[in-house]
Amino acid sequence: MEQLLTGMQKCVIDGEIDQIQGYVNQALSDGMEPSVILNNGLIAAMNEVGQRFESGDFFVPEMLIAAQTMQTGLAILKPLLIKADIKTAGTIVLGTVKGDLHDIGKNLVAMMLEGAGFEIRDLGTDVNSEKFIEAVRNGDADILGMSALLTTTMPTMKETIDALVEAGLRNKVKIMIGGAPVTEKYAQSIGADGYAPDASRAVSLAKSLLN
């Protein structure tokens, strides 16, 4: 069993996307619990990937292909996890703010968060504050994540937070923001709960916000 999990982790870390379903199916037919496969196989591997990225041994393309491999494995487990009513690490609503079509950074964050076991609701790009509010009001989001690349669209983050306060929904979610022009200081000044400078640290931030 241990050997199978080690092989599965290595498969994710090396980004062997064509082989991951073989490992997951093998584990299931050996009788391993889906939650064990998820936590001790796939998520454990992504933790290692995140560490390697932060220490400079891994680069973004390697991290991404590992995340995609993880998700390919997860696709088999998902229906089983739902059936067994196993909770994810949390639900995160993500979007690039109004007026901004840049999504590569947000997608990167989404993949890494998914890799860490979070459930992602991606609202896409050019998302206005009404759509963010609607997603928070009607869903079970634990965290709202906003992204902006342009300095001209950054103010929409503040507008959205202000609108959430007005709608009485601010205490329902934690808010994290990111993007090239965004800083820790800006996050504090607009009343967000956290800021992460890169995708890997967005994962640590999301975990710490829900603890």
């Binding site: 980004g15 680069f59 973004v60 393309p61 390697e62 991404l64 292909i65 995340a67 995609q68 590569i104 997608n107 990167l108 993949m111 820790e184 400078p197 890169d198």
Partner: protein, 480 residues
């Protein structure tokens, strides 16, 4: 699949300075100086040899050269020299446009990496310098770096050679003060290589010597030149004149004079032993007429060194060059700027044996940080010189069709397999500000200093076998 005609997959950045006609004009002008005025040789043996070969002797020791002697010498000198490391593995290829970088020799002062004080060298300092060279991947050969003041001055060159052989496996370009010390240096290298025959095969050491500009050759320099020819170990007999002081003020004039001096050395060398290995070189500086200092980092110095590289290749000889030098007094922004232009020019002109890495202040002072910076700059410029590969594999038409508008290329297989071909710096910083702050918010200068100290404190060069250490010690004791 697209069809291409006369496809060139790699075309690296191009640089060319002199036209064929200009090169020929410089060559013919040097031959005219050699015929009309000649070179004064303070060496009786050389005069006899040259007279016998067909040169004209007047005024006791003035030697005038007919063109045929020069052209005979050029014809017999080899086009390539392969220098091996201490283990006999080929490591420094002197041919074509292949570039190799190394330190300078005999600086009087060091910028202390711990106290930042400007002070004289000790034996421990030169050992640290050789270990630094040993550790850095883009520094390919070593020169003596400094003159230590805590040893017997008569043994300066012996101690330098002993410590270079003991503290790094990289090939050595050495300097000595007279014939006897040159012979001892050869004996030491031979003891390490496994005998004179093995040393001749491995070409682990190369002598640097100089004519005495303008248009003179000293006794000791010619003594050493003849010794190197006889032993068939390589030599660079390189003029180092200052234009406006001991050379004409124009760059073309500086080149003509240096060429006359180099070619007269080559005649002596090749008529002593045809086919012995010879490196073509000159460091043609100008005198800064406000400070009366030699400029090591001027744009004009980059031009004369490029001209020497092109002339050398025109003759089919390995070439000598300069880089990683500055006229600054400390490792500051000036030093970094001047290091960069020198490395860029050296790589573009393709000199084979590029030395004086670490020189500051007209060659009076060495900075270890400058050597570490140059190591990084060589890697950076290597990745500029590599050019752009244009081939079906790199045009990525399929990839573009697959990803399409609005997609991204971050997670494709092609990205994963190609992204590492981009250069990743080791000392230049590209981190996001938050990470940079987290890692101590250091400047490049601080990181250079840290790397110098890390290498000094932790690098362990491959030890020299005990019997060889003993053999070197015996040669040193006999000399004292």
């Amino acid at each position: 699949m697209m069809k291409t005609v006369n496809a060139v997959a790699f075309q690296s950045p191009q640089f060319s300075l002199l036209s064929d006609c200009q090169i020929q004009d410089i060559h013919l002008a040097a031959l005219e100086v050699l015929r009309e005025t000649g070179i004064r040789f303070h060496h009786t043996g050389a005069i006899d040899l040259l007279k016998h070969a067909g040169a004209f002797i007047s005024d006791g020791n003035l030697v005038k050269f007919p063109a045929k002697l020069v052209e005979q010498a050029l014809a017999s000198a080899p086009s390539r020299i392969i220098m091996c490391d201490r283990d006999g593995e080929p490591s420094v290829f002197l041919e074509g446009t292949k570039t190799n970088f190394g330190t300078g020799s005999d600086c009087l002062n060091l910028l202390d990496p711990y106290t930042h004080e400007h002070r004289k060298f000790t034996r421990e300092d030169i050992i640290n310098g050789y270990r630094l060279v040993d550790a850095l991947p883009n520094i390919h050969f070593q020169m003596s770096i400094g003159i230590p003041i805590d040893i017997d001055p008569k043994l300066t060159y012996d101690v330098q050679m002993l410590e270079m052989l003991s503290n790094s496996t990289k090939p050595i370009v050495f300097v000595t003060n007279d014939l006897a010390s040159c012979q001892r240096a050869i004996d030491m290298a031979a003891a390490v290589a496994g005998g004179p025959e093995a040393l001749r095969e491995q070409q682990h050491i190369l002598l640097y010597s100089e004519p005495s500009s303008p248009l003179q050759q000293s006794t000791t320099a010619v003594d050493k030149l003849i010794l190197m020819a006889k032993t068939e170990l390589p030599v660079v007999h390189s003029p180092g004149p200052q234009m406006g002081a001991v050379a004409p003020i124009t760059m073309a004039g500086g080149l003509v004079m240096s060429l006359a001096e180099i070619l007269s050395s080559l005649v002596i060398h090749q008529f002593t032993n045809p086919g012995a290995p010879f490196v073509f070189g000159a460091g043609i500086h100008h005198m800064d007429m406000s400070s009366m200092q030699i400029c090591y980092a001027s744009p004009e110095f980059q031009l004369t060194k490029a001209a020497i590289a092109e002339l050398g290749r025109w003759y089919g000889l390995p070439t000598w060059g300069y880089a990683g030098c500055s006229d600054a007094k400390v490792m500051d922004e000036q030093a970094a700027v001047e290091a960069m232009i020198s490395v860029m020019a050296a790589k573009l002109c393709g000199s084979n044996l590029i030395h004086d890495v670490g020189y500051m202040e007209s060659g009076l002072t060495t900075s270890f940080e400058m050597i570490v910076l140059t190591d990084e700059l060589v890697a950076m410029v290597d990745n500029f010189i590599k050019g752009i590969e244009v081939s079906p594999d790199t045009l990525m038409v399929e990839e573009l069709n697959t990803v399409g508008p609005g997609g991204n290329f971050l997670s494709t297989k092609a990205t994963r397999s190609h992204f590492r071909s981009y250069w990743f710096p080791t000392l230049l910083d590209r981190k996001i500000r938050a990470t940079w702050l987290e890692k101590g918010a250091t400047t490049l200068g601080q990181r250079l200093n840290l790397k110098v100290r890390e290498i000094i404190e932790s690098h362990q060069p491959k030890p020299l076998a005990t019997d060889k250490v003993q053999a070197l010690q015996t040669i040193l004791e006999k000399a004292s």
